[in-house]
């Protein structure tokens, strides 16, 4: 008995450690196996669901109530919001009342504030939690590439055949842009997919000084305007921006990928090595020393710029979107002063990865989920409901297709770009009636980049790109805003970039681009 007691402690210890080890390994295995197991599971579900009565496709075409034989499924939809709507439940009930007869499904809306979107969704995916829809993007918390790489999203190519309306509602070029290794993992939310560069100018100064906006054809043409404002309005800051006005060099004849347009070799050149960049910096330096550029521009963060614009003291802002109807949104940003857009570059198609909705691998009803997305992309009634809320409560009609959002009610997020096709939705008060037509037209006519559909995979040069970002933060901002003398600082900047590995990054980018060009027969 005594002996047994003595041996007890090490035994307990040993078994404890063994148990912990086993459980640790076990959970690891689980994690590794999860996507694979999941994959087969959802495939199996696909099959059974596909064999089930084909009422899904029929239902969307006709508005007849679904056969009562099948109980309605509940979909869960996680998406990003910037303010938690107070009347969420009410709107959700209205949506369910609307969609249940159509697709025999109800939806549970799960808005997540942008502050925790990425963490929360990634944890849920890692935990293999069962849900159906989630918002994805190539920026912010959307994390599209990463989620595709982890196998968290369901490829929807085959499912799309069952939702022909959805397939037709979105142009092929947009579908192509969402593809990763030839498969579609997201339904793009159609909105403005083209960008142009230009200036947003406060209208009161245009009127006051009789500025001829048609004479502004290039970036440098704004200089006389800035001079006029600087000389006559001591309280006003002529121009403020935090972004690099050289940008990707579209203004100066370069593609966003970094090669000179028209170059048959598609040779990628780093920004600082472009000869035009030096000229640009000299111009910026002149603007800065003349007092046109806000003196703190070099250290200003975007949120400070927003605050500065809100005061209404900025006359001109460099704008890299120039979307039709954007003047209405910008009026608010400029402290309620009307602005005029002056475009100085050709609009260029920028792709649709900025906002998409994807189906989770863990979804139990991927077809229903896709049918829901079909509705948000093709059915204006549903899209307007989920975007603007309930009529006469959350918004009032002020025109045929124009509404005024009720700022005192509990659903004023105005985030149509998260849910679906904004081009089928209402217009906001102040937007021109033809805004959507112009947007559609812009999307269609915007110049397709020669390498349309190509996206860099940043994974191989992640370390370098982080280092380069840090160096650019240090030198680039001060240079681009003219706060320092380019003759002295540019060589230092180039030196620091070399040390940060810009050579390796360019090489890797070139390699990826060359491969793509070869695969697409362009080289």
């Amino acid at each position: 008995m005594k002996v047994w007691k003595m041996s007890m402690a090490p035994l307990v210890l040993a078994s404890l450690m063994l148990m912990l080890l086993v459980s640790a390994c076990g959970s690891n295995n689980d994690k590794n196996n999860a996507p694979a197991a999941d994959n087969t599971a959802s495939n199996a579900k696909n099959d059974t669901a596909a064999n089930a009565p084909d009422n899904a496709a029929n239902d969307t075409a006709t508005t007849e109530p679904a056969p009562a034989a099948e109980p309605p499924v509940e979909l869960t939809y996680y998406y990003i919001v910037y303010d938690m709507p107070a009347d969420q439940q009410e709107v959700e009930d209205a949506i369910n009342a609307y969609i249940q007869p159509k697709i025999n499904a109800t939806i549970k809306l799960k808005p997540v504030l942008e502050a925790g979107y990425k963490d929360k969704i990634n944890t849920m995916l890692a935990a293999n939690e069962s849900f159906d829809l989630l918002w994805t993007s190539n920026w912010g918390g959307g994390d599209y590439d990463n989620k595709v790489a982890k196998g968290a999203l369901l490829p929807i190519d085959d499912l799309l055949d069952k939702t022909p309306d959805l397939k037709a509602a979105i142009p092929q070029v947009a579908w192509d842009d969402t593809k990763v290794d030839g498969k579609i993992y997201g339904v793009p939310n159609m909105q403005i997919a083209a960008k142009a560069e230009g200036f947003a100018i406060q209208k009161r100064f245009i009127d006051k000084y009789n500025i001829d906006v048609n004479s502004i054809k290039t970036q440098m043409d704004i200089e006389p305007v800035l001079k006029t404002i600087h000389d006559n309005e001591p309280d006003i800051i002529p121009i403020a921006t935090t972004s690099n006005m050289f940008d990707f060099g579209r203004q100066y004849g370069y593609a966003a990928q970094g090669y000179k347009l028209g170059d048959p070799n598609f040779k990628i050149i780093d920004t600082t090595d472009k000869p035009e960049y030096k000229t640009f910096l000299d111009n910026m330096r002149r603007w800065y020393t003349s007092g046109y550029i806000y003196k703190d521009a070099a250290t200003m963060k975007d949120d400070q710029l927003v605050a500065l614009l809100n005061t209404g003291k900025v006359a001109v802002e460099w704008n890299t979107t120039m979307k039709p109807g954007g003047e209405v949104d910008d009026k608010k940003r400029f402290g309620n002063n009307d602005v005029v857009y002056v475009r100085v570059s050709e609009p260029e198609f920028t792709g649709v990865r900025a906002t998409m909705n994807s189906i989770s691998r863990t979804s139990k009803n991927p077809e229903k989920a896709l049918e829901f997305l079909q509705l948000t992309s093709t059915d204006p009634a549903l899209f307007n409901l989920i975007t603007f809320g309930i009529k006469d409560k959350h918004y009032t009609m002020v025109g045929d297709n124009t509404i005024k959002i009720n700022q005192d009610a509990g659903y004023k997020g105005d985030q149509g770009w998260v849910f679906g096709n904004v081009l089928i939705g209402y217009l906001k008060e102040g937007q021109a009636p033809d805004t959507w037509e112009r947007t559609k037209q812009l999307n269609e006519t915007a110049k397709r980049p020669e390498v349309n559909g190509f996206n860099f995979n940043t994974e191989p040069y992640k370390t370098e790109s982080v280092n380069i970002a840090a160096v650019s933060e240090q030198y680039g901002k001060a240079l681009n805003s003219g706060a320092v003398d380019p003759a002295k600082v540019l060589p230092k900047y180039q030196d620091a970039l070399k040390k940060a590995g810009v050579g390796k990054q360019t090489e890797e980018m070139q390699k990826q681009l060359d491969e793509w060009l070869k695969a697409n027969g362009k080289k």
């Binding site: 007691k5 402690a9 307990v12 210890l13 404890l16 912990l20 640790a24 959970s27 994690k31 910037y82 303010d83 938690m84 799960k110 504030l113 942008e114 502050a115 925790g116 963490d119 929360k120 944890t123 849920m124 890692a126 935990a127 293999n128 939690e129 920026w139 912010g140 909105q191 403005i192 960008k195 935090t242 972004s243 963060k301 975007d302 949120d303 400070q304 710029l305 927003v306 605050a307 500065l308 809100n310 005061t311 704008n319 890299t320 979107t321 979307k323 954007g326 209405v328 949104d329 910008d330 608010k332 940003r333 900025a354 906002t355 105005d414 985030q415 770009w417």
Partner: protein
């Protein structure tokens, strides 16, 4: 703030005794200067935060941060109190979790620490090891998430804010260390007087360990007051959001703005409603303020807990 106040209190003490007993010495002077410097380095930013929260936004942009607001206004606080219900509810949640969490956690910590400190407990070593082991190895985020959400179904309840943080192995080790210095004879004499284990624990051990409990209680309550990540992960119900998560949300809007300005203009996100700088500072004051006020009440135990090393009777 807290450490700075403690240090300040210490230095005041040193000063008071120094004046009476010791003549002027360079070492003393230098250490005073050093501590005054450290104290200032901690207090000054806090004062700056307070004054920014009372400054007009345009004045911040034009003149930068000022210690004395050029343009005094309480606008930022009005902005936050526009929806007082949200704030009051968040305070309520935070206070409930802090109070319940601290009390429960102290109880569990004291019990576990006491049991593992008793030399006559046969499985003392394995039990201590079991606690210690979790300090070195733990399941990590995803397994805890699965446990709490999929097995215990604690999501969207107040318990998911309390239970996961209830047992902290480090505090148990501290408690054990404190209690193991307590003479076993006290417990034995209580036993002779006829007390059973429960009674010994509640009427002898707990009262004798007030300094340790106060110190740990302070740390624990800070932990509960400042925690927001569990709420972010497990809470979807807006009515159960603690105050710190509100603060984090406000602060991260700034980060969102700084990294995504391109998309903001593309989508037309209405930035005019975003919290201003002074509003964010006001929120920081509101979220941290109550704890700053509570600290002085704990302070005497705090200092005692550090200095009272034994209970030699």
């Amino acid at each position: 703030m807290n450490t700075s106040q403690a240090i300040a209190a210490e230095s005041v003490k040193i000063k008071a005794t120094g004046q009476r007993k010791e003549p002027f010495s360079v070492v003393n002077l230098l250490s005073h200067i050093l501590f005054i410097g450290i104290t200032l380095a901690m207090i000054v930013p806090f004062v700056l935060v307070i004054s920014i929260s009372f400054t007009e936004e345009t004045s911040i942009i034009e003149h930068g941060y000022q210690f004395i607001p050029l343009d005094f206004t309480a606008k930022a606080y009005r902005y936050i109190f526009e929806a007082p219900l949200v704030l009051i509810r968040a305070y309520g949640i935070t206070i409930i979790t802090t109070v319940i969490g601290t009390i429960l956690s102290l109880l569990v910590t004291a019990m576990l620490g006491y049991v593992t400190s008793r030399r006559d407990f046969r499985y003392r070593t394995p039990a201590s090891f079991f606690v210690f082991f979790t300090m070195l190895f733990n399941g990590g985020l995803v397994p805890s998430y699965i446990l709490i959400k999929q097995y215990l179904h604690l999501d969207n309840t107040i318990w998911c804010l309390i239970l996961p943080a209830l047992v902290s192995p480090f505090y148990i080790m501290v408690m054990k260390g404190f209690l193991s210095k307590m003479p076993f004879e006290i417990i034995e004499s209580a036993k002779i007087d006829g007390a059973r284990e429960i009674r010994i624990f509640f009427t002898i051990v707990l009262p004798l360990s007030t300094p340790a409990l106060a110190t740990l209680g302070l740390f624990l309550s800070f932990g509960f007051w400042n925690s927001w990540f569990p709420a972010l992960l497990y809470i979807d119900n807006e009515k159960l959001i603690p105050i710190q998560l509100l603060l984090v949300r406000m602060m991260q809007k700034l980060e969102f703005l700084t990294s995504n300005s391109d998309f903001i203009s593309q989508f037309g996100v209405d930035t005019s409603k975003f919290p201003t700088l002074s509003a964010r500072m006001a929120m920081a004051i509101l979220a941290g303020g109550p704890m700053v006020c509570i600290f002085p009440f704990f302070q005497k135990y705090f200092v005692k807990g550090l200095t009272v090393g034994s209970l030699k009777g």
